[in-house]
């Protein structure tokens, strides 16, 4: 069995066995398949891309094809233990709405995103160019990312939406960064709950 991507492995580490998980933008279902096989986790993925949906079906993952921008109507309040949004929020139009929906539907939210505060990004900006890096591998004119933020920005948003941060991990190239996270980490993972 192939190794789980390091950031997904960190997310998996936050999820309790036998819980119910909703994975928003689940791609080909890698995380959910892993959680099912190793932690007896049940749940659903949401994905808009047809090829990814078919990939998830191939893994035997329950996937619902829909656009996250339209929210999570159809999912009852507090019907999941965890709602995961992995490397998707930066390209979403309705960021505040999806945070509210995550807090409505799940007990615990988990969001991961590229940290714009990473030093290389700051350095490239300081040199007068838009950052292009491993976690933000696009030019300004072709990027799908319309809502980039730093670790501190995201924390502030959560707090303003009535969420309490219960854990936070920052990574770079698959390794955890503990020193100066908002400067040295290129990828942020935040776990939160309704306050």
């Amino acid at each position: 069995m192939s190794e789980l991507r390091p950031d997904l492995a960190r997310i998996a580490g936050w999820i309790a066995p036998e819980s119910r998980v909703l994975d928003l933008g689940c791609g080909d279902g890698e995380l959910l398949a892993h959680l099912r096989d190793h932690k007896q986790v049940s749940g659903y993925g949401i994905e808009i891309d047809m090829d990814s949906v078919i990939g998830a079906v191939g893994r035997g993952v329950n996937v619902i094809q829909r656009d996250l921008e339209s929210g999570l109507a159809g999912f009852e309040a507090s019907s999941f233990d965890y709602v995961v949004l992995s490397l998707t929020i930066q390209s979403m139009r309705h960021v505040e709405a999806i945070i509210d929906e995550m807090l409505r539907v799940g007990r615990t939210g988990i969001v991961t995103f590229p940290n714009f505060g990473y030093w290389e990004n700051r350095w490239q900006l300081a040199l007068g160019r838009m950052p292009v890096s491993e976690t933000i591998p696009y030019q300004w004119y072709n990027t799908p990312n319309i809502h980039l933020c730093t670790l501190n920005d995201f924390d502030a948003l959560l707090v303003s939406h009535g969420a309490r941060i219960t854990s936070q991990i920052v990574m770079h190239q698959g390794r955890r960064i503990t020193f100066l996270p908002n400067l040295l980490g290129s990828l942020a993972l935040v776990r939160f709950e309704k306050d």
């Binding site: 659903y44 047809m50 949906v53 079906v57 191939g58 329950n62 619902i64 094809q65 829909r66 159809g74």
Partner: protein, 380 residues
């Protein structure tokens, strides 16, 4: 001609006779009846690889293959079923059945009523989706199939697949309900009513007992089919195929057949009215209208589905307005509320409701991926 390696090849229909009376939901009793069916592939020793295909309004038990090498058309879902196709007959044992009330050999209004020696005609009782499911279950018993690996259908067939998991929850592992709905809307019933009225008001209808008069309500049936056909296609699809093309140069300023679409529809209507039974058409549309599995569960579809251990694949098509994605999402919502395993996909297609019979590439890949998992699960 070399045989197509992906076809089930030459097939033949079989007939199962049932002497035990069937009590219908409407209260009537059919004392004895027969069901036409076909099978493809081989039932494995564990009897775990059987798939039931439920037909829609105009379908039959002839789902795949040909009766004769020179048959113009194969079975109605030949694109989906065969060696190496999504419903892979190398792995699955596939059963197609003609429903009770149909006109392809199973007992229906045009069959002889043993009580009178005459065709049933108007005396044939209205059957509903749940009656079909009960009749199909008896066929499953006869074939030694305790539990289907999957029950699969599109449109009215998708309703049967869903109903199976309500009526016999432990006899279905997977329910594949395609381009279907948990119940019809007023608009959808309205279309059916106009279709029925076309038949009922045809002078050749004779209250449903037209067989004795040696006629049949061809005009009514043709109109019903023409109306139905329009609703099965999308505006986009019709526009792309026919646009405003004329048969002749310029307008004729009369009421003859002028536009290509008119010619096409009339041809389709004629072809259908020559082979289908009007009473069966009435009956099938009524079964559609009555379908509402939540009805006996206080109107709650999640409650109706509560006992089901089945997994579900719900598929809708973007341009299907007769059974729109919104209706499929109602089924999905009920399944989510009932915490059932479900996959939902909305396929981009220009083919409207008929897309479930077409071969849009993502649709075929999705079916293939899903059914490969089913095959692995049941050891097929």
């Amino acid at each position: 001609m070399t045989p197509d390696p992906h076809s089930v090849g030459i097939v033949s229909a079989q007939c199962a006779e049932f002497d035990e009376p069937l009590v219908l939901q409407g209260g009537a009793v059919i004392p004895r009846y027969q069901l036409m069916y076909e099978t493809y592939g081989t039932l494995n020793a564990e009897r775990s690889n059987a798939i039931l295909i439920c037909h829609a309004l105009s379908g039959s038990h002839h789902v795949a293959g040909r009766y004769q090498p020179d048959d113009k058309y194969p079975g109605w879902w030949d694109t989906m079923i065969g060696p190496g196709k999504p419903i892979d007959t190398n792995r699955f044992f596939v059963v197609g059945v003609n429903n009770l009330g149909g006109c392809h050999g199973s007992t229906g209004p045009s069959s002889i009523n043993p009580a009178t020696g005459q065709p049933w005609g108007s005396a044939f009782p209205v059957v509903v989706v749940n009656d079909w499911v009960h009749a199909q279950a008896r066929l499953a018993d006869r074939l030694g199939i305790e539990r289907w690996a999957a029950v699969i259908g599109g449109s009215l067939g998708g309703m049967q697949a869903l109903r199976w998991t309500v009526t016999f929850p432990h006899r279905v592992r997977h329910c594949l309900s395609i381009a279907s709905a948990p119940k019809l809307t007023a608009q959808n019933i309205a279309f059916n009513d106009v279709a029925r009225n076309a038949i009922l008001t045809d002078p050749e209808f004779h209250g449903g007992d037209y067989y004795q008069h040696g006629v049949w309500p061809k005009r009514g049936l043709k109109l019903a089919r023409m109306l139905g056909h329009i609703t099965y296609l999308s505006d986009e699809g019709l526009g792309g195929k026919f646009g405003r093309q004329l048969l002749a140069e310029g307008y004729q300023f009369g009421y003859g057949t002028e536009f290509e679409i008119e010619s096409y529809l009339r041809y389709q209507g004629d072809r259908f009215a020559d082979v289908f039974d009007a009473n069966s058409y009435l009956l099938m549309t009524k079964a559609l209208d009555y379908f509402d599995p939540a009805r006996h569960y206080g109107g709650s579809l999640p409650a109706a589905l509560a006992a089901s251990p089945a997994k579900y694949l719900i598929v809708a098509f973007t341009t299907d307005w007769r059974f729109s994605p919104e209706r499929s999402k109602e089924t999905v919502k009920a399944l989510l509320d009932a915490k059932k395993p479900v996959v939902y996909a909305e396929i981009e297609s220009v083919h409207g409701h008929d897309a479930f019979l077409m071969t849009d590439e993502p649709y075929m890949r999705l079916m293939d991926a899903y059914l490969k998992r089913v095959a692995e699960e049941v050891g097929a």
